[in-house]
Symmetry: C2
Subunit: 216 residues, 2 copies
Amino acid sequence: MAHKGLGKNIFRGAVAVPKIVDHDERRLELVDATWRIIARNGLEGATMREIAMEAGFANGALKPYFPTKDTLLEFAFSHVFNRTNQRIAEVTAGQTGLAALRAFCLEVLPLDEERINEARIVIPFWQKAVNDPQKAVIHQQSMDEWLTAIRRCLKEARDAGDVNTGVDDRALAGQLLNMLLGAQIEAALAPAGRTDFGHDRQLEGYLALLTQPSAR
Amino acid sequence: MAHKGLGKNIFRGAVAVPKIVDHDERRLELVDATWRIIARNGLEGATMREIAMEAGFANGALKPYFPTKDTLLEFAFSHVFNRTNQRIAEVTAGQTGLAALRAFCLEVLPLDEERINEARIVIPFWQKAVNDPQKAVIHQQSMDEWLTAIRRCLKEARDAGDVNTGVDDRALAGQLLNMLLGAQIEAALAPAGRTDFGHDRQLEGYLALLTQPSAR
DNA sequence: GCTTATTCTCTACAACTATAGAAAATAAAC
DNA sequence: GTTTATTTTCTATAGTTGTAGAGAATAAGC
C-alpha cells in the first residue's frame, strides 16, 4: 500500500527495506502546506521553494511525490473540493428537503476563518481554470454534483410543502449555486479578519422566498 | 491636455514641438491589448512583451505610458469596472424600480461573448485582489456602489408594489449581488463558445420570487 | 556495526521576466 | 534640408522560477 509513488520497489532476494514514509500521506501534508502558502501569500507566492519550506523540507524534496508543480497544484485544488464534499456528506446525512438544503449551503458558505481560507484558495484555482480545460473540468464536475444535490433537496422540499414557488427548480438551483460562488469572492477579497458577511442571513432570506404564504 | 504622461514638456523659448500621441488615448489602447491577451492567454500569458506585441509595439514601448506592469494591470482592471458602470448608467437611465433592477442585472450578467470575455478578465483580477489590498479596494468600491443601486431599485419597487416579500432589502441585495458574481465564474470557466447559461431565466425567476401573490 | 534502499539536501542550470537605458527612428517647425 | 523633442526599438541586466540530478543523510534489517 505504501509503494505507490515510485516504481522501484522491485523484488529483492531476501531483504526488503520498507519505505519509511507513506507517499499518500506525505502528499496530503504537501497539499496542506500548499494551501497555507496560497492562503497567506497568494498563488504568486506559491513557489516550489516556498511550499517545500512551509512543509519543512528543502527545495527538491517535493519531486518524488509530485513530479511537477502543476501536478501538485491540481492535486491540491482537487482536494479542496474533496474536503468540502466530504463535509457536505457528513452534514446532510439523514437530512432531506429544506433542512438538507440549508445544511448544504451553510457548509459551503464561507462562514468561518477556515472556509474563508478555502475561498482564498478556490479563487486562484478558478483563475487557473479559466485557461486550463483540465482544471475547469474539476470545477465543472463538482458543480454538476452540487446542482444535482440542490435539485434533489428542492424536489423533496416541494413534496413536503416547504417550497411552493412557481419558479422552476432548474432556475432556483442555478441561483443558489451562483450565490454560493459569489459569496466566496466577497469573503476572499475582504480585508483579513472580517468574518461576518451576513451570508447566513442571506441564505435564510432566500429560503424564505421559496415558501409563498399561500394559505393564510 | 496631451502632455500628461511625462513632465518634460517644459517651456521652450519660441518653438514648442507638440507631442504626437495622446497619452491618455494610448493608455486606453494598451489596456485594450491587455484585455485581449488576458482573455486569450490568461494572466500568466500577459507578459509585458506579449502585451506590447499585441498592441503592435516592441518590448519597451509601454514604459512611458505605464511605468510598471502593476500600474498597467491595475489601470486595466479598473477600466473593466468603469466600462461596466458606464453601460449600467446608460441602460438604467430613466428607469426605476423593478425595471431598473432588471436592466442593471442584464447588463452585468455575462450574456454575450463580450461580457464573457470580461468575466475572463475579472477573475484574474479577483485572484490578484485576494492578496493585494489596493486592488481589493477597487473591487469593494464598485460593489458598494452596486449594492446601493440595487437597494435603491428595491425600495422603488416596493413603493410601486412590485416587491412585497417579507425578506429585508439588505439580504435581497446581497443575494442578488452574489448571484451576479457567481454567474461570472460559471461563464468564465465554461469551454469557449458556450454562451447560454440560462442566467437571464435565473434572473427572471429571482425577480418573480420577490413578488408574493398576495391578493388573488 | 554493516549493508542497502530510501529519502532528502544542495548545487546547478536553462528559461523567462520586468525593467533600465542607450541609440535609432520619427515627425513637426523652421 | 535642418533642428529638436518625442517616440520607439533594441540590447542588457538582475532576479526568479521550475526542474534535474549527484551526493549526503537516514532508517531498517542483518
